[in-house]
Symmetry: C2
Subunit: 475 residues, 2 copies
């Protein structure tokens, strides 16, 4: 069967859904091709379930941190109810709600595995083996995302380790959970499952947790994980993995003073992502399978003007909200180009994902949370930008003290000393996730420091940190 659409979208995660939605709103026809659940990683195996697993523990910690309220928390979290709540947020891994949304948005959906077969052509193989050949008049958008990378540790793949999918969808709390990797997923899952009662060991080969963020973030999270009972091991590699009965055993390649094995019931591998371009037929259009798609700021693949790579698959910023952002920009540019327009591709236009480079927000939902946007100190240095670092302990803000007894946190602002605008901000502390948008708007809006003095924070909120940072900047 042959079908022609203006736009063919491979992958119906939130990124693909958004590309399709935008182009259909722009008057084009679009089809989504998906061989798993419509809604993608975020809805079923990432953001949603992980945050649902974390929320109960978080809010109870907040209640326990307020004398007077703490005395009301005399029971324990109902773990079964928390797992059931998680299941609700993943719609019990049923995508019918999303399918309904797709249909309502005027987007066609084809279930099956899509592969490129030369320029503007996608062949979809359904579960029953039948094939559909799709031709794209204007564009093919690859939104297949990324998959968990499994490092080449001897024995590891043979023992069926948890990937983030199993870690977020587990039906029971593991008794003893081993985690390889101290990035965002490793730290969030350590926090989540420890909060639900698991014994957790986290092994990170680097010297810090959360390596791309400000070092203070990883330090604060490591200290908090340890205080909660997680065995955090830094500078430790894993040299082998095996099963002994129901036990998982990891051999550690650390110094002699550290025991050279850890044992658990499950092991989560959380060492990063790889592009989902392996089975995609990208070789039929001259690209190398398994590699991230190289794209420009409109998400157009280098040298292939009809091909777009949007979301995780381009390796720019692997975050749900940035995938959706890229999807909005790419969708708009596809529509404009289909109309024969020459869209403005200068910074901050509606057709480019400028924020990818200079204003990407990210939140790590650990306790403390880490919320950051824009450039870290190291990134400002590397970019050769004239800058000054302004830090302030969030706990000294009245609103933070009211929020929680003994509130501990840090705000780290990176200020461009020539343009006097904010280059980046990192908040570390309980409940800082909702503080981030203010910094994102300041960075994106390039609001001058002189003007920010007029953006008065309401008293007494934690946001008074803005005033403290400005006062520290003034000196």
């Amino acid at each position: 069967m042959d079908q022609t659409y203006d736009v063919v979208v491979l992958g119906a995660g939130s990124t693909g859904e958004n590309v399709a939605d935008i182009v259909v709103r722009g008057g084009l026809t679009a089809v989504l091709v998906e061989n798993e659940l419509v809604g993608g990683e975020c809805s079923y195996w990432a953001c949603m379930p992980s945050k649902a697993l974390l929320r109960g523990t978080e809010v109870l910690a907040q209640a326990r941190a307020v004398d007077g309220a703490a005395q009301a928390v005399t029971g324990e979290q109902d773990v079964d109810a928390t797992l059931a709540r998680r299941d609700t947020f993943t719609s019990h891994w049923d995508d019918s709600g999303q399918v309904e949304w797709v249909a309502g948005a005027g987007i066609d959906l084809i279930r099956g595995t899509g592969r490129l077969d030369g320029e503007r052509t996608v062949v979809v193989t359904a579960a029953d083996g039948s094939e559909t050949r799709l031709t794209a008049r204007h564009a093919v958008a690859v939104c297949t995302g990324s998959a968990a990378a499994v490092p080449p540790i001897p024995g590891l793949s043979g023992i069926e380790p948890w990937t983030p999918r199993e870690a977020t969808s587990a039906k029971d709390v593991p008794g003893r959970l081993l985690i390889i990797g101290g990035g965002v997923v490793g730290c969030e899952m350590a926090t989540a499952w420890r909060g639900l009662g698991a014994e957790v060991t986290l092994v990170e080969q680097g010297a810090h947790l959360l390596p791309p963020l400000e070092p203070a973030a990883g330090e604060a999270v490591a200290a908090a994980l340890r205080a909660s009972g997680v065995d955090v091991r830094l500078d430790v590699g894993v040299s082998a993995a095996r099963r002994e009965g129901t036990e998982v055993v990891l051999t550690l390649s650390s110094g002699p003073a550290v025991p050279d094995e850890v044992r658990g019931d499950e092991v989560l591998v959380a060492v990063g992502r790889r592009a989902r371009t392996t089975e995609l037929g990208v070789d039929t259009v001259g690209l190398e399978p398994g590699k991230y798609l190289q794209v420009d700021d409109t998400m157009q693949v280098t040298g292939l003007p009809w091909l777009y790579g949007v979301g995780d698959v381009n390796g720019r910023r692997q975050l749900t909200h940035m995938g959706k952002y890229q999807a909005r920009q790419a969708g708009a540019v596809i529509v404009a180009r289909a109309r024969g327009e020459e869209p403005d591709t200068s910074d901050w236009s509606p057709y480019v994902a400028t924020a990818d480079a200079v204003a990407t927000p990210s939140v790590v939902f650990t306790d403390p949370q880490v919320a950051s946007v824009g450039r870290t100190v190291a990134e400002a240095e590397e970019a050769g930008l004239p800058h000054r670092v302004v830090e302030y302990p969030i706990g000294q803000v009245s609103g933070a003290g009211l929020f929680a007894d003994g509130y501990t946190g840090t705000a780290i602002a990176v200020v461009d000393t020539e343009r006097e605008v904010l280059l980046g901000m990192t908040f570390i502390g309980p409940a800082v996730s909702e503080l981030l948008q203010a910094a994102t708007i300041a960075v994106v809006g390039e609001v001058p420091i002189g003007r920010l003095w007029h953006a008065v924070p309401a008293y007494p909120t934690i946001n008074e940190i803005w005033l403290r940072l400005l006062e520290t900047w003034r000196g």
Copy 2:
């Protein structure tokens, strides 16, 4: 005794402290005159104690709204501990910490009642009757704030009603609390004391609670107060007050269908503020006692270039953070003028309080909270600004659903359709107080809507409301 300073500051609340601090940092000498506690209303009888009284109830409500966590909240709030925590945040009404800060900042402090005695002159009468005559070389800054207004209801002043001071500092939970006035103080105190177990009746003569804010705010708070058991009576006046034994009785001037008396153990009068200029000797410089000081955007009193009115006393914006903001601007302008400079007084300069008119943030710490900045719909209409209103239910944002089961809230954005910038924003919902700063920066920074699309909210936070509002704006 005679003393001369560059700047004499009447009133050592947070506003006066900030004026003095800024001018001393600018190289001038300054003295603070205070006849009550150094630190002022906010520290002892307003922001700090009220938020401390509210926090325990708030965080427990949040825990109860998360299935799984809710099951851990099997006990009750420890009211004595909450009151003790409140006492900690007011430093047990002891100002020695603030006095220490004043001294450390290089500011002199004179305890006593200050009165103007002609141009640039203040006479301070100490508790022992001794007098000090202060001469200001450059400026006198009046930062005496405001006091609770007591309406002329027959019998009311004779029964010693609570003002906000007594309501925030009460040592015990009143059994039955009557509240006259449904503004910010009335609503916050109804929420606080109801949360701590009091039976509360709130009487408001207008049709809405929180009248200057978006009508939806007052409606949401009224519904929530009623759901929590508060007897909220709108469109009801109070025509008389009396005591019967230990009981307080209010006669209501409402329609015949409503009982014409309410009884309680205490009555809080929260109908607004009056300028604290009555005993201030303003008549010696040609001003009328009891009136708010008329000032320009540098806080300079009309016709008296040596006199500044900063904070509540000028009636512009009666909020702690706006008093401090005005103090920073006025302090800077006093220093500049003392140096013989002609400071830039155009909008958004460091010497004017531009945000007073167009970007004042305010938070009402009820449940739901109400956080607003800039112009309401009615204010945009009144100002004749071309605008469009964009609304979105916050509960439909994933981050809100994760935050609390059944999260209900609303965001109301007022967008200038000519300049395509945000004129105002109101968030109504649990925990929205920390969402506000983003809107404040967007309003103050006059960040174009086109640019705000690049300010990507982190997923899944409540701040994704920004994306929903933009999508709604786009249509």
